[in-house]
């Protein structure tokens, strides 16, 4: 499980994003226990305080919850995970659309390229 961190954005926001991806893709299964802050920080090679900040924010959003005695867990709320997944997809697509726009493609052109490619992939 790798952590790919860019240098031009705050680390905590990238950690949040990557943990969201791990939850959505099922690497961190719903209801399962999360490794400790220290373990996660070491794995991602980041400062434990930064990891702590990212986890607290995910907790505020409800994707994680803390059981006071036994640690931090991933939510079992499938709907909430679905929402997070949706949000990540939207982020990806708006980033992609930005890029296409800067290449000079309009909405309809972009859409037609996508459908052509999907058609070809089917074959």
């Amino acid at each position: 499980m790798s952590w790919d961190l860019k240098t031009d954005r705050p680390i905590y926001s990238q950690l949040i994003e990557q943990i969201e991806i791990k939850i959505c893709s099922g690497i961190f299964a719903p209801g399962s226990k999360l490794p400790s802050v220290r373990e996660l920080a070491q794995e991602a090679a980041v400062n434990p305080n930064t990891m702590q900040k990212a986890l607290s924010m995910l907790e505020e959003d409800g994707l994680l919850y803390t059981n006071r005695t036994s640690g931090r867990f991933i939510t079992e709320d499938a709907k909430m995970i679905e929402q997070a997944k949706h949000k990540l997809a939207q982020d990806q697509i708006s980033e992609f659309l930005e890029k296409m726009k800067s290449l000079g493609f309009g909405k309809t052109e972009t859409l037609s390229i996508i459908s052509t490619m999907l058609e070809e992939a089917k074959k």
Partner: protein
């Protein structure tokens, strides 16, 4: 939380050259702090002052409420910029010596780290390569359960793979309430593990911020900002 290190108008001159000029800092516990600056900016002078190897020309410096001296050496674990270990000693003998010297020295931790880096404890220091010597020294420093770690260029002489291991060692072994100050100019290698940074230039503090603040406000890494601020 009380601060671990404070300095008020701290200055150090060598003749009429001011190595440090009116430094005011207040460093909290539980942080990893990068002390960054170009060559000759005063990084090592600052760290030497903290270790009582130099005395301030004026101003005040306190660590855990005491001026540098016997009391502070108890709680400070220091990695100097060069090796000082006796060449003829075996690694295991040096570990024994550290154990005698420092009540907070954790022997098991030391042997565990030696094993992970496949360093043979019965080898003599003089038979070790330069990089391995540096690793041994870092192991000794990080095996102490100190309140303040002062690391002067901890990753300068080792290869990138060992660098990763060393950062991992630093992250895995410091106490939750301890503060680590790392002086270096290899910023891109360490900025990911830093909470705060201090930029020194010509003996003065020109910037103190958290890494995420810098990335948020400038949209660039600490390394890039450093190259801009200290452009030659």
């Amino acid at each position: 939380m009380s601060s671990i290190l404070t300095c008020n108008n701290l200055s150090k001159s060598f003749g009429n050259k001011k190595a440090l000029n009116n430094i005011n800092l207040n460093l909290e516990r539980g942080r990893i702090i990068g002390l960054l600056g170009p060559n000759g900016s005063g990084k090592s002078t600052f760290i030497k002052l903290c270790n009582d190897l130099l005395t301030p020309t004026s101003g005040e410096l306190q660590i855990g409420g005491n001026a540098p001296g016997i009391e502070t050496k108890r709680i400070v674990s220091y990695l100097p910029e060069r090796t000082y270990l006796n060449d003829w000693m075996k690694v295991s003998e040096i570990i024994q010596m550290f154990q005698d010297f420092y009540p907070d020295f954790n022997v098991e931790k030391a042997y565990d780290m030696l094993k992970r880096l496949s360093i043979n404890p019965s080898e003599r220091i003089k038979t070790l390569s330069k990089g391995t010597k540096e690793k041994v020294q870092l192991i000794l420093v990080m095996s102490r359960e100190a309140q303040l770690y002062l690391l002067d260029e901890p990753i300068g002489g080792v290869d990138p793979a060992a660098r990763d291991y060393i950062l991992d060692t630093i992250l895995g072994n410091y106490q939750e309430n301890a503060t680590i100050i790392i002086s270096t100019h290899l910023i891109s290698d360490i900025e990911q593990i830093l909470d705060d940074i201090i930029f020194l230039q010509n003996g003065q503090v020109v910037l103190t911020k958290t890494v995420d603040e810098i990335r948020d406000e400038n949209g660039k890494s600490v390394d890039t900002l450093f190259r801009e601020v200290f452009k030659c």
